[in-house]
Each structure stands twice: as structure tokens, then as C-alpha cells.
């Protein structure tokens, strides 16, 4: 393969990865936009989502060693998988908000963020205790079809990622810009007190934001399982770091920013891994995070600087 083909391949891979990071970053950034909270537990919800997906698939009789599906059975299985997993992770997110975070709503300082670190640890270890430390295989639902792009290739899995990812983002965008709920969310994010004065039930909006964000994390988690074919209690950590950096890079609180950031980090990971070696990708990504936070906290598309001191 020529250098161009290698780069092209990495771009395809990077964009596919980027979709996953974007989905994860979206939920994270939505919560930040509304209550200015850095929610560490978001990435553990993501990790939990993969296990939920495993359970759902097992209940449907789809196991890790089984064959891949096509046509109607595939679409049907995917639909059930996504809907159920997203609902469960959504509810998990709501539970976290109600039980742990609501009482801290008016506390200043980092107490809420520290609480989310605690929740993250609880989730990670709950999964570890339930499933053990070994990697779990995730059923390979999607058939291994490939198409050539020059000397590079694009897989069916990647296509599915792109399609489902775009559908979800489009749906979210429509929701946020056109529906009443979406406008309530935007109003609350821009000025919570003024939103109350318009009659918006801000508490309810916050709960719904958590639900949506966590559901998107659930979708992202299924992407991970379907794409990589495995999961483990530890995946929230590295993937979470990348999604977090995506959100910050794009501009924390900004929805288009999360998408742009996610794609960028996906590309960075695959191209960077190609150029410098996989073992340095973490350092690269952390460095991007630090540089953005120190020199341009608004990120690329961020509209406003965080207020809370």
C-alpha cells in the first residue's frame, strides 16, 4: 500500500472511531452545558452499557460465538438492542442525578465532580465484581463485509457506525433545535433562572438531559462492542479520556463541538498511532487536553467561558 492509501485507511478508521467518541462526548457535553458539571460517571455509564448490551443479546439468544446476522433479523436485533440498552443507560443516568447529584446542586466548588468520580468507581467495580476482570467477548452481529477504496477498505461495521451515528446526531440536532424540550434545554443552559421565569420546570429539564446524554452513551457503548468485539470493566477509562478530550476540544457545552471534537480525536488516534506508535497515543491525547484547557478553555466552537469559580 502506498503512503496515500495508508493515510486513507487511517482516515476511514479514524472517522469511524470518531463517531463513537462523538456520541460519548455529546452526552457529556450536554450535561455540562446545563449544569456546568464535569460528570466522570458518564464514561462508566458507557462501560456499563456494553454489559447491558451483552445481557440483552444473550437474552435474545445471540451469543459471542454465534454467526453474524443479515437482513431483517439483523435490523430487528439491532433495533431491540439499541432501544433497550439506551433506555437502561438513560435510566441509570437519571438515577445518578437524582440520588447523588441533586442534593449538591447548589454547593459550590468541586464537590459534585468528586461525587461523580465516586460513582464512576462504584460502577467500574460493580461490573468488575459481577463479570470478573477478564475481557468479555461481544457477539459479532455484523457480518464482515468489506469494500475497497483504492487499496484501502471500508468495512460494513464502519458503515453501520456512520449511518447509525448520523441518524442519532441528526435526531438529537432536530430535538434540540426544533422541539419544545430541546428549546427548554437550550434556554436552561443559557440562563436557568430566566428559564424558570418562563415557566420551564428546570429540574425536569435536567433529568431529561441526563437521560438523553446517558442514552447516547449507551449507543456509543454498543458501537464499541459491535466494532471491537469485546468489552471489559476498564474500557470506560481510555475511551472516556478520548471522549472527554473531544468534548473539551470542540468546546465544552457545545453540541456541534462535541461532534467536531470527536471526529478530530478519532483521526488523531488512528493517524497518531500510525505515525508514532500506539503506545504514545494516550500521551498525545492528554497533551491535547492540557494544551486546550490552559490556552483555549473555550475549545474550538465553545461559545462561552465557564462561569463557576
Amino acid at each position: 500500500m502506498s503512503a496515500f492509501d495508508v493515510v486513507l485507511q487511517q482516515i476511514v478508521n479514524g472517522l469511524a472511531l470518531g463517531m463513537m467518541y462523538a456520541l460519548l462526548a455529546l452526552g457529556f457535553t450536554m450535561v455540562y452545558g446545563i449544569i456546568e458539571l464535569i460528570n466522570f460517571s458518564h464514561f462508566s455509564v458507557f462501560m456499563t452499557g456494553t454489559f447491558v448490551g451483552l445481557v440483552v443479546l444473550n437474552l435474545m439468544g445471540v451469543t459471542a460465538g454465534g454467526r453474524s446476522l443479515t437482513g431483517l433479523p439483523l435490523i430487528g436485533t439491532l433495533a431491540v438492542l439499541f432501544v433497550v440498552t439506551m433506555a437502561v443507560t438513560g435510566v441509570l443516568g437519571v438515577l445518578i442525578e437524582r440520588v447523588c447529584l441533586r442534593s449538591l446542586r447548589n454547593v459550590s466548588g468541586s464537590a459534585p465532580m468528586i461525587t461523580t468520580i465516586g460513582v464512576a468507581f462504584i460502577l467500574i467495580n460493580a461490573m468488575l465484581l459481577t463479570w470478573g476482570p477478564q475481557t468479555q467477548r461481544f457477539p459479532q452481529l455484523l457480518p464482515n463485509w468489506r469494500w475497497a477504496l483504492g487499496a484501502a477498505e471500508i468495512t460494513f461495521k464502519q458503515v453501520v457506525l456512520f449511518v447509525v451515528g448520523f441518524v442519532l446526531m441528526f435526531a438529537l440536532s432536530h430535538l434540540v433545535r426544533r422541539t419544545t424540550l430541546g428549546k427548554s434545554m437550550r434556554a436552561t443552559a443559557q440562563d436557568a433562572d430566566a428559564a424558570r421565569m418562563m415557566g420551564i420546570d428546570v429540574d425536569r429539564v435536567i433529568v431529561l438531559t441526563f437521560f438523553l446524554g446517558s442514552a447516547l452513551a449507551g449507543a456509543g457503548s454498543l458501537f464499541f462492542g459491535l466494532y471491537y468485539g469485546f468489552t471489559g470493566y476498564y474500557i470506560g477509562y481510555t475511551t472516556g479520556l478520548r471522549a472527554f478530550t473531544s468534548a473539551v476540544l470542540g468546546g465544552i457545552g457545545s453540541i456541534p463541538g462535541a461532534v467536531v471534537g470527536g471526529l478530530f480525536i478519532g483521526l488523531t488516534q488512528s493517524l497518531g498511532g500510525q505515525l508514532l506508535g500506539v503506545k504514545w497515543t494516550d500521551v498525545i491525547i492528554f497533551s491535547i487536553l492540557i494544551v486546550v484547557m490552559v490556552f483555549r478553555p473555550n475549545g474550538l466552537l465553545g461559545a462561552r467561558l465557564p462561569q463557576k469559580a
Partner: protein
Amino acid sequence: MRLPGLERWRALPVTRRRQILTPVLLAIGLVFPFVTSNAGNVDAAANAFTYVLLALGLNIVVGFAGLLDLGYAAFFAIGAYGYGIAASGHLKLEWSNLWVPLEWAGQVSRLVVPGQPDTVQFHFAFWPMLAVTAIVCAVFGALFGAPTLRLRGDYLAIVTLGFGEIVPVVARNWEALTNGAQGLGGIRTPKLFGFDFGFSPYPYYFLGLGLVAAAVWISIRLQESRLGRAWMAIREDELAAGAMGVNPVHYKLMAFAMGAAVGGLGGTFYVAKLTTATPDMFTFPVSVMVLVMVVLGGLGSIRGVVMAALFVAFLQSVILQDLTEYVHALGRLVGSETLQRVELITSLELIFGLILVLMMIFRREGLWPAVRRVAALTREQQDAAPARGGAVRLSWAPAARAGGPNRPLLEIQGLRKHFGGVAAAQDITLTIQAGELVSVIGPNGSGKTTLFNLITGLVPADAGSIRLNGNEIGGLPPHEIVTRGVARTFQNIRLFNNLSVTENLLVGEHARLEAGVLGAIFRPPHVRREERRAVEDALEVVELFGNRLAPRLEHPVSGLSYANRRRTEIARALMTRPTLLLLDEPTAGMNPAETLELMDLLRALPGLGITVILIEHKLDVVMDVSDRVVVLDHGVKIAEGAPAHVRSDDRVIEAYMGRRRRVPA
């Protein structure tokens, strides 16, 4: 809980309690290894000391200075690898004559391999490395802290987390230096006067005990020093700290450095005992574990943090195993399979998560917070009729020059400031003479507080100059302007809420004290003298307020009445020995009697050589105390002159009450 001795114990002053406790605790510590029959316990205790060191180190950063560091394990790692690299012989560099003196001293050896250039092999002794790694860690602490200086709480934490992650990744990948994932082995054990510590836990136990004792002592000394007060001021209110002369950049870097140094000690000690160092020992969960210890014990509470660290250490080494035994036994009793298979040690991180969540929701101050033992006011003190301040006298105040105000103290020229589209200051020109009391008045939003913020350097001007005694002060940071003799209070009262009245006042003295780190820790005579003097100054300033503040000196200011909080803020500003005092609505929230009292004090200040600029809304106060009144409206100076003249000025009335409306058609 009513234990008989507890009341008496609590009544003792802190120094006395310490005098009793210290020898007792030391004795227990020294005797313990001989009393326990099981060497395993000694080993567990020795390991626990590492935890305590880490907790004490993080306590300096998070507890004292309020900087949330989520990557503290980085310093643990640097200390560990620092000693590891120096003492394991893994690193191979080319030999040069640089190393000859060290070879002499037995710290390095020359490796001669036929056919290859000679290399130097490190095997530095433990004791000097203890100091070296502490210093190296301090440097890294400042280095990692530097990018966070302008960030607010959550973002600061994330950046520190970033550094905390980069360090183990570097350790894992820079194999020439660290031997990668396999880690360093064969790290040289400490030798004392020929005695090699080897693998017995006993010498490490005593070494650890010594290090912990030193760290506790250092922490206590720091906390009760000028340095500690500066940190706590920054933690409570960084803005106000700057306005009282504390340089936030300097002290934040100090906190990072000191905290890192203690963490480095922990790392060196740990790895000397373990004789290995691998990257997995320093990952994010370790940073979280240290955070758990500090949160559990109480941010800023030395004894809390020590106890919590011991608890966490024993949780890992002893408690969970024992509990697991009980659960197994219960399982056998009840016939439950799952109970018999439970291994509680694997749920350690689950417990950490639960601790964090529960502490944040229910007890953010920690289980053993630094108790501020405050004597309740006696009946007499509570019922005492408030006495106004006595004769207003301050030993340091230069007497007012005879002949009244005669030279310009503050000269403002063409000052301009815009916030977004709003003009907060438009071409303001104003001169304040020394010895005057000038009031600045104007309706809401007229730019009065902005003017104060511009003078004190909180906000940079867009244009114009501000000269104090002929010297330009525009552009200087707030803490430097304080040293030039300008002090202020704030409209919304910005006290250091969790500190006592005395501590708040002593922060005011910060810029005029000199003790640095070494002075704080070792307290040489000149430091003790200046601390005594500072306390005397505080008592003197408190006198100005009669018996209002005097009985409440040790009370945390958060519990004071509104009027007393205002008084404390003014007293704190006076502690900086200003020649120019800016008071922003000092009588707001005070009833008429309290207002009259304060007015007496205000009137007396120019006589003490303190020029006063006052922002006030109570126009009768203004009329009564001012030499001159300046009126602002929408950022413009619309009137200036003697009080009576200004009050009847039409423009002023219109500014407050609005222009008379034209009669509608």
C-alpha cells in the same frame, strides 16, 4: 457522647493537648513493634506509613490551599522512580570524568565491558536521595502546577489529572530510563552506619515512623504560619487574598511544590522498602485513593488525614481480609454459596467510590475536621452592652500633618473602562488629598465599585493613569498595590469564612511579614518575634471596635453577625497599615446605632494619617463624615464638592431620581 474526661480534655488549649499527646503517641509508636508478636503487623504498619505520607502531602495541596489535585500519584511516582533509577543500576549512561568524584564516594561504579565503551552504573545511597527526590518532586510540583494557575477548580483538577496520567505512561514507555512495564528491580536498600535494612520490616517501620513524625510536624508548623494562612486565604477567597497582599501565583506554586515533596518522600520510602517500582503502582486509582484519604479525614485536618490514611491502609492490609473471614463463616452458617466465595478485597475500589459519594453528600468537612474549639461567650459577654471603641489610636499610624490636607495622595487622570458595551468609567479625573475623607456616591450601576476595582488593580483600565504619591500604580497586580499602602473592603464582604477573626486579621499583616518556608517550619527567633508582633497589632486594631470583636477573636467569621463581619473586614484592611483606605458600603446592613459607631471610627481615621475614600448610600452618613463628595452617574463624574453643595445640586438629584418627565401631549 458524654465521656467524663472528654469535657475536661476539650477545655484544654490546643498547645497543651499537643504537649500531652505527642509523647504518648510517640511512645506508642516506638513500643508497638516490640509489643506485637507478629512481624506481619509491623510490616503492615510500615506500609501504612507510606499512605500517611501521601495523605499529608495531598493535604497541603487540597486541604490547605484548596487546589484539587487529581494526579497526585505522579509525585509518588517521581519520588519512587527517582530513587529507583538512582539506586537500581538500570540506567546506563556513557562514562565520563564527571562521575569520578561520585565513584570515589561510592555512589556510582564504572562498568567495564570489553569491546564496548565504559558505562556508569548508579547505586546512590538512600539518605541523600531522600533529600534529592524531595527537591526534584518539588520542582515537578511547581512545573505541573504552573499551567493551572489561572484555571478554576474543576479545570485545574482535570489538568492535574492529565499530568498524573502522563507520568506512568512515560514510565511504561521510556524503557531505557525505567525498564518499562517490567519496572525497576534490585533497588538498593538503605544502609545506616553499615547496618543494611535488608528485608526485615523493623528498620523500615522506624524509618517510616520518623518520616511521618517529621511530616506531621512540618504540616502543623506550616498550617500555623504565615504560609499556612496565605494558603487558607487563597482557598477561602483568592480574590480577597490578593487584595490583602498575598501573591496567589507564588503561594499556589509553593503549595504544589511542598505537597509534591512530601509525596516524593513517600515514594522513595515505599520503593526502598519494596525494592521494586513498576508503572502500575502509580495509576489514577492511586491518586483517587489518596484523595479518598483526605476527603474521609477532613480537608485541611492533619489528624483527620492521618487517621483516615491509617484506616485505608489497614482496610487494605488487614480489615478486609478479616471481614472476609467472617463473611465466609457466615456463609457456612447460613449455607450460602455466594457468601462463601466473596472476596472483599476486590471491592476495595467500590468502597472508595462509596466513601467519596457519601462524604460529599453527607459530610463534606470530613470525619475528623480540624476542630475550632471556641469557648462559648460567657453570660457577661453575651449581655454586655456594646461599648463603642475607645479613643481611636494606632501605634503605627503617622500623625496627621498639621494644617490638614495639603498634598495629593491619589491622582486619577482620564480613567476609562468598558465592560462589553457598558461604559463603567468614562474619562474620570479625580485627585484625593492626603488626610481627606472623600465619599463617592451615585445611583446603582454608576461605576463606584468599578472605580475601586480599577484603583486596587483588580481590573485593568482601558485608558488613563492612576498615581499614588506620584508613582503610577495602574497595571500593578492587587497584592503589590497593597504593599504601596492601599487597602480596601468589598461591597459583598469577602472574608475568609472558615478562618477565625484573628486569622483573618493576620492575613492582613501578610505583606509586612517575612517568614518563608524555612522560617515557617523552623521558627527561628525573628519569625517568632514577628508573629508575636502581628498578634499584638491585631489586638490593637480590634480595640478600635470596643468590645464587639474582642470576645470573638477565635470564632470563625462565618458565624458572626453581619455588622461584626463588616467590622472584621475593616479591621483586616487596617492591618495592612494603609495610607489610603477604600471602604465599599461599610455601613450596609447596619442599624442606625451600629452606623453611628462606625461613623465615629471613620471620622477619626484621617487623624491617624489614613486617607479614606468611602462608597456610601446613606446620604446622612456621607454628609456627616465627608470632607468632599464625588458623584458618579453612568461612569461619569457629574459633581464634586462640599457635601451640602453636592446634595442640593440638581444634576445629582436628577441622577438619583431620574429626569423630570416631559409632560405628555
